[in-house]
Subunit: 547 residues, 2 copies
């Protein structure tokens, strides 16, 4: 009998980790909770349940079956949310198309994923019309918008429109018990070099990411925690890493959800006010735009929690958000990691925290969420000391990492080495296990034998009241190897000089926070920072321009 654990264990009542199982509790416990689209269209979770079934029935009529890829080109909408569930739950694969890519790239990703069905929002009719002859695998086009929307003239052979398809379909669907490793979603990373690379996630990975990140977001003592009383609105597009998986978490929590359509800062702030939004997530560029818009000057943002990811949260921006009462925190992850790996959080404490220290902690890369085996290692894969000083690359194992790029074994091989996914982010870690990224490997500035953290200098520059945004890049220098150059976007009526910025940064050398080598040799004021399709500063482009 002592050999029982050796025997092949039988699991007659196994319960695979499937996306459909995320819906058991919210559909029973929040049947009347609201889902709002653009402040105009309102439906309940009960309607969501019915529309998910209708969508699956509609797709089945279109010939969608196990393994079919269904691609979506839409802004953030309740319809996108429905496709997050219905498409994978019926065994098909959801491709979330990055609508910010170039036409050629969009065509490439749809072909590469082999999408057979393409949902197209009115705003993307011109794009799809332009590329439709290049689409090799799409056989069915579905128009996805409000029924009364004005479609511009186009020559796309739509088979049906989304709302008519749903109206014609039954409100129940027997979603199958799939293998939990079935592919659920795919989308394309947007590196600054080469073609976009396809990333895939399975049902198991998305369920584990949802439950674990939910646990991590809920369990802080205070701060940005996401709970059943919140009202959720994404500000990371739903085409980008499933809006960081947050719509899945919001649905499990059964909270009110607000989908804003296309992002327009004034309109987003109005939605926060009118719908009582309390929890969002975005890249720093979006937060910057929101704080700068006219509407934000008149709206109370004091109940809003925002997780900022997809790049560092500069301290100046965090401070500006805190000044408006926003509970702002950094989060960290990447497309290949589903994405959440870590979240900043404030320590458990009884007394108040010094504001500078609080801002610093809110901007840190933060604490890995449960089940994440995150190490910071040197080139021989040895862990660096937890002294907040030693640098190394972040490597990770978690249950929700892409196993490789879609049909791209070469790139996949570089992603995984020594059993760990290599993030190419350079970081250090302190004695409390809090991680701080200092740079992407390719953005590191090496000056006089020292490594200078471009992210740290950008964050310090952002603390200057006249600075809107900053990027620090390295340029070749015969004597020092490289020297830091700061590219700075000033606020509208700012009057400062380059020397003022240098003096501001030099101020931080006095308490030893940075070395004097880190003070930018050149400060250049520019109109705006070039961004990638997902709103990150495009340092490769900047280096090329200012070399």
């Amino acid at each position: 009998m002592q050999d029982a654990a050796h025997e092949p264990t039988l699991f007659p009542y196994a319960y695979p980790l499937l996306i459909k199982h995320l819906l058991h509790t919210p559909f029973v416990q929040a049947p009347d909770q609201e889902i709002v689209y653009r402040g105009q269209l309102r439906m309940t979770y009960t309607t969501l349940r019915e529309r998910i079934a209708r969508l699956a029935n509609g797709l089945r009529m279109l010939g969608v079956t196990h393994g079919t890829t269904v691609a979506v080109m839409d802004w953030d909408s309740h319809r996108y949310l429905e496709s997050y569930f219905a498409v994978p739950m019926m065994g098909a694969v959801l491709q979330t198309v990055n609508v910010r890519l170039s036409q050629a790239e969009i065509a490439y990703t749809i072909n590469h994923a082999g999408a057979e069905v393409l949902f197209v929002h009115t705003d993307f009719l011109p794009v799809v019309e332009a590329i439709k002859d290049q689409l090799e695998t799409v056989r069915t086009f579905v128009w996805i918008d409000e029924p009364d929307s004005d479609a511009c003239a186009h020559a796309i052979p739509f088979t049906t429109d989304y709302e008519a398809m749903l109206a014609a379909s039954a409100t129940t669907y027997e979603f199958p018990d799939l293998d939990e490793n079935t592919r659920a979603t795919t989308f394309y990373t947007t590196g600054t070099t080469g073609l976009p690379k396809g990333v895939c996630f399975s049902h198991r990975q998305l369920v584990l990411h949802t439950i674990t990140v939910m646990a991590a977001l809920s369990s802080p003592v205070s701060g940005q925690r996401f709970h059943r009383g919140d009202v959720y609105m994404p500000l990371t597009p739903m085409f980008h890493v499933h809006a960081w998986g947050m719509p899945y978490i919001a649905t499990v929590l059964g909270v009110k959800q607000v989908y804003p359509g296309r992002y327009a800062p004034d309109r987003l702030v109005q939605l926060v006010r009118d719908e009582g939004v309390t929890f969002s997530h975005c890249v720093s560029t979006i937060l910057h735009m929101l704080l700068a818009c006219d509407e934000a000057k008149h709206v109370d943002l004091g109940k809003w929690k925002i997780v900022v990811g997809g790049g560092a949260l500069p301290r100046g921006l965090a401070r500006a958000a805190l000044d408006r009462g926003i509970d702002v925190f950094a989060g960290y992850g990447m497309s290949e990691t589903c994405p959440v790996l870590s979240l900043a959080q404030l320590p458990h404490r009884t007394g108040p925290l010094d504001l500078d220290e609080e801002v610093r902690l809110r901007c840190r890369t933060g604490f890995p969420v449960p089940l994440v085996d995150l190490r910071i290692v040197d080139e021989a894969m040895r862990d660096v000391p937890h002294d907040d000083k030693a640098y190394g690359e972040i490597v990770v194992r978690t249950p929700w990492l892409t196993q490789g790029y879609l049909n791209d074994p070469d790139a996949s091989g570089q992603l995984w080495t020594g059993g760990y996914l290599h993030t190419q982010d350079i970081a250090n870690i302190d004695a409390t296990g809090s991680v701080q990224i200092t740079d992407r490997i390719k953005d590191v500035i090496k000056s006089g034998g020292e490594w200078i953290s471009s992210l740290e200098i950008e964050s310090l520059i952002s603390l200057h009241p006249d600075v809107a945004e900053a990027a620090v890049i390295g340029i070749r220098d015969d004597k020092w190897g490289e020297r830091p150059v700061a590219l700075v976007v000033l606020n509208a009526d700012a009057q400062i000089t380059e020397d003022d910025v240098k003096a501001h940064v030099t101020g931080f050398t006095k308490n030893g926070r940075i070395s004097k080598y880190a003070v930018p040799q050149i400060v250049k004021f520019i109109e705006s920072l070039e961004k990638t399709s997902v709103g990150k500063t495009n340092k490769k482009w900047l280096r090329e321009q200012f070399a």
Copy 2:
């Protein structure tokens, strides 16, 4: 390419759900957090990490290998916590022996599980000495206690003692990457009929239970939520369903943990005071004892959150706990379900709640936690209406249900029917998805064609200020089939009569909460209620006595 999801997917970097992976974050993020034993011995998470490795090395020296069952007889201790991790992490099976069972039953469970190693605390030397000749599979006895404890005279051939074994062992161990379905733990259910039945859980099941219940316990708006700022102390014994899995959750959260040894009410209350305990869980009998003990009169319990499970939380007891400032809530589960299935919680609201209503909500069986597919069905497995009135049996599917009783196919077959585990609990469910158990199937009272909820009547009787505890059972009646009889334990100096109790219950018929058939025909005052080995009221025994 559209067939990609059909192809067997390769997972070169799969990440199995193993108990060892629960430890990545706490060991890095809470290295100096305390674990306290009986208020005397204090160690850190770093020491826990080392002792887990030492224990695994020690067990390897004793010949423990993949599939070996290691049985533990101890009170709640840091050493028990170490075995929760080390034993399954090395691929062995942890048997948590119910030390409240009879000697014959203890011997039966150890033999039936095939345990080869037995850890014995000093207090159980007499028991083990008495049964040692009946133990068929145990080949190694290990004494588990403080090194300076006085062992009584005994004739047990100990191979070593726990602390000496750890002292002689290395502080690192390469825990293997097991199949996630490997059996991790086993223990025995304690029904009131027949032999104890063995229940097993795998690594995958325990990891999913830990993360999901953590998410559920963290995500309420307010109330009993378990978070990173808490101090944890179990009050459900560690031998019983892994103390409801809470030590695993507490460890992932990285909170201070307090292990009290043998439960003594005054001592437990002192630990709450001295160690600042803020989160516990127990059966109602234990909460009753704690509130009644002398020490509780002098200690501020206003920061203590307690989840009460393993049976109904009577409203009178909840009210008494609330009066002391304790944030008390009901939880629901069973040995076969790992155990947590649902948790009571208060609704999100802005204004205060009427006290009666608040007590009622805190005592409900509550809301199923995420991933739990909980249905209340009639005999044809049709869902009953969500109207808070219709009765049915609770049936469940979750990723953490025992797949059957150990080596007992007959009992296993009865547990699972129609793809669902049948709980034998009768309940109704309201429009918000909140579940309320009214009875075990075998305890239901049928009077004049109506079903009377014994748990509801007990809860109403418990609201009488002179009542300590109550049990309601059915006795045969020629006219009505059955009639309810209340067995009532009064507070020390209470002076009430049987008619006072009937009048108290009759008062609740006026607002229609219960029918007049539900007023007990007979009220009998007794000294105490017979309890099972895990502290539940033994209704079978009571029915036999009072038939």
